[in-house]
């Protein structure tokens, strides 16, 4: 990666109408599009960190505010992953973007997977950051900070059951390559869960992000942006080193 990160202030706010719902987003950067689905940290954090600014150096980042989060209303019930995915896919269509990769964080990773499953002709690749789809080790994480603003019931409403058979049925037919990133110090979801994605998804790559907890973008922004950029740039060939190892020419 070259150049400096796009500052949070350089992202601009926008909104697009999808049916009865107004979907808010922030966007920044130029180049190939990248759709972002935030996690439990909530819309106040999305597109505000260094990592997305790094990604926006060479691509057009569109970070959505999940309907039913932040200032985006929905109704009395939290919509599930499939409905949220369909709404955001509609938003990308309304923005005139035809095909794109999707990056989902934590509970947002479930939305990203539903998005790829329901719209295979639009989603070219998927990045799952600290995903909660498989929760075999920590079904209801004891590592959650009681003082943190997470609402686990709401999160579970998006992610579905601990090993959701509904989304699981779609995984083996996913066409898009999937990158799964989990931190070595994650107290919400164990890095041991990564193997389940590799076993369930035909073209899946699991990476342990060392010395990072659940918030990979916050804990290791450069590392996060590097591996995501490599994956989005090279696809499955990101497993081959494209960076020069020459010390001095």
């Amino acid at each position: 990666m070259a150049g400096t990160a796009l500052s949070p202030g350089a992202f601009t706010e926008g909104a697009v109408q999808v049916g009865r719902h107004r979907v808010r987003y922030r966007e920044g950067g130029r180049g190939e599009p990248l759709a972002i689905v935030h996690g439990d940290a909530g819309p106040a954090e999305y597109a505000a960190g260094t990592a997305l600014g790094l990604l926006a150096r060479d691509r057009h980042v569109i970070a959505f505010e999940l309907p039913a989060s932040g200032q985006s209303g929905w109704g009395t019930r939290t919509p599930g992953g499939p409905v949220l995915a369909a709404t955001l896919a509609g938003a990308m269509a309304a923005l005139g973007v035809g095909a794109y990769p999707v990056l989902g964080t934590s509970a947002g990773a479930t939305v990203a997977l539903w998005w790829a499953a329901r719209f295979p002709d639009r989603v070219t690749s998927v990045v799952l950051e600290s995903p909660l789809v498989f929760r075999t080790v920590s079904p209801r994480p004891a590592g959650l900070d009681p003082a943190a603003p997470q609402d686990w019931d709401r999160t579970a409403g998006i992610t579905g059951p601990d090993r959701d058979a509904a989304v699981g049925a779609h995984l083996e037919t996913l066409k898009a390559p999937v990158l799964v990133l989990i931190g070595s110090r994650d107290g919400i979801i164990s890095a041991d869960e990564g193997r389940h994605y590799v076993q369930a998804i035909p073209d899946c790559y699991f990476i342990v992000v060392y010395d990072a907890a659940h918030d990979l973008q916050g804990d290791r922004p450069e590392a996060f942006a590097q591996v995501v950029t490599d994956f989005l740039t090279h696809g499955p060939n990101f497993t081959v080193n494209h960076h020069s190892t020459v010390i001095s020419p």
């Binding site: 890095a191 990476i207 342990v208 010395d211 497993t239």
Partner: protein, 375 residues
């Protein structure tokens, strides 16, 4: 209690000046063949005489011992041993590719029929950063990361990648796997308080080298307290210690023979040039300056003196018993090498195994319950 032998090919040349690294121009093929033959004979003798394990280690620049890769020596040893297991003490993680270490240890497990005693994933002695591409100031962080990478590589059933601070691998799939799915016993350094804390957090056993009783007691106390807090059992069976030993018919004879050959003094491994001395000092200050056993050893500029396990069989047994009382469950002894003539090394080993080992084997090595083991 278990006893092992830290062995290897002890290459010596009559004209070679003391100092490290050793100039390669002092290489003599005939001397090298003899050193290797003597070293392998000592390993076979240790096996025959009933030692529990034999040790290989990693050292560069010609010494101590010809062992740039401990796994190569272990592969040669595996088919020659009948009873003793092989301890890898150990590969130096920051100086190597951690994935390759994971692969080679697993291959050695297969080659030896599952007879690895354990593997110590180490950081390397400070001087050896002169001959490594690794930055010594980053070696602690790189070591901790490399250890965690290796442990995960051994347990991960699917290919995975590692986006580290010091290492990046996009596809890791370690083959072979271990014959026992639990994998090998892993030991980490207990030579500083930070290292002990890391061993506790990683769920590994402790390896302490060359420290005196007070330092060893401090490390073991800290280790047991940490394990107890983590709800993990830790007793003598979790702690390995390394040092020199020399047994003779009398204390006077033992002292005289050790002093004559500098056995146990480590004086051969002082910096070879003034520049190297400054570099050693910088490495020590930058990377090994914390308290603990290693810091104490680095301050011993004038040599380490005589082996702390020295004298008659009774005296050596009492010294061993003293360390056992501190919570040491296994000792990795140097019976030779470091310039000690091969015939004296053999006699030392034979006398120890005949007159000391039977009683030492009676000392319990079982892991005790963690509860109440905090000191």
């Amino acid at each position: 209690m278990e006893i092992g032998m830290f062995g290897g090919a002890d290459y010596q040349h009559p004209d070679m000046p003391p100092g490290w690294p050793r100039p390669p121009r002092y290489w003599d093929p005939a001397l090298a063949r003899q050193a290797l033959q003597d070293g392998m004979e000592m390993y076979r003798l240790a096996d025959e005489l009933g030692l529990d394990f034999v040790t290989v280690s990693e050292h560069h620049g010609g010494g101590p011992g010809l062992a740039p890769n401990p796994h190569v020596v272990a592969a040669a040893l595996a088919p020659q041993l009948t009873n003793a297991r092989i301890a890898l003490l150990g590969p130096n993680v920051p100086m190597n590719n951690p994935v390759r270490i994971a692969e080679e240890v697993a291959m050695l497990d297969l080659l030896s029929g599952g007879r690895l005693y354990g593997v110590a994933l180490l950081r390397g002695t400070p001087n050896e950063y002169l001959t490594s591409a690794a930055n010594p100031a980053e070696s602690r962080a790189a070591w901790e990361e490399g250890v965690q990478l290796i442990l995960r590589a051994w347990q991960e059933p699917e290919p995975f990648g590692w986006e580290g601070v010091h290492w990046r691998f996009r596809t890791i799939a370690v083959w072979p796997r271990f014959l026992d799915p639990a994998g090998p016993r892993v030991l980490l350094s207990g030579n500083s308080p930070d290292s002990v804390d890391f061993a506790v957090s990683a769920g590994c056993d402790l390896a302490i080298s060359y420290g005196g009783p007070e330092q060893v007691a401090q490390s073991i106390g800290q280790f047991r307290a940490g394990c107890a807090a983590a709800g993990r059992a830790a007793g003598p069976g979790s702690v390995l210690y390394r040092n020199f030993v020399y047994v003779a018919e009398s204390e006077e004879r033992a002292r005289e023979e050790c002093a004559r050959y500098g056995f146990g003094s480590m004086t051969q491994f002082r910096p070879a040039t003034p520049g190297a001395a400054r570099a050693w000092g910088e490495i020590g200050a930058a990377a090994y300056s914390g308290p603990g056993v290693m810091a104490g050893l680095l301050r011993k500029h004038g040599g380490w003196g005589l082996p702390p396990f020295l004298g008659t069989p009774d005296q050596v047994y009492e010294a061993v018993r003293g360390y056992h009382a501190l919570g040491v469950g296994a000792i990795d002894f140097s019976f030779g090498g470091f310039g000690l003539p091969a015939e004296l090394a053999r006699r030392n080993l034979q006398m120890f195994c005949r007159d000391v080992l039977p009683a030492v084997h009676q000392l319990p090595a079982a892991v005790q319950a963690a509860a109440g083991a905090g000191a």
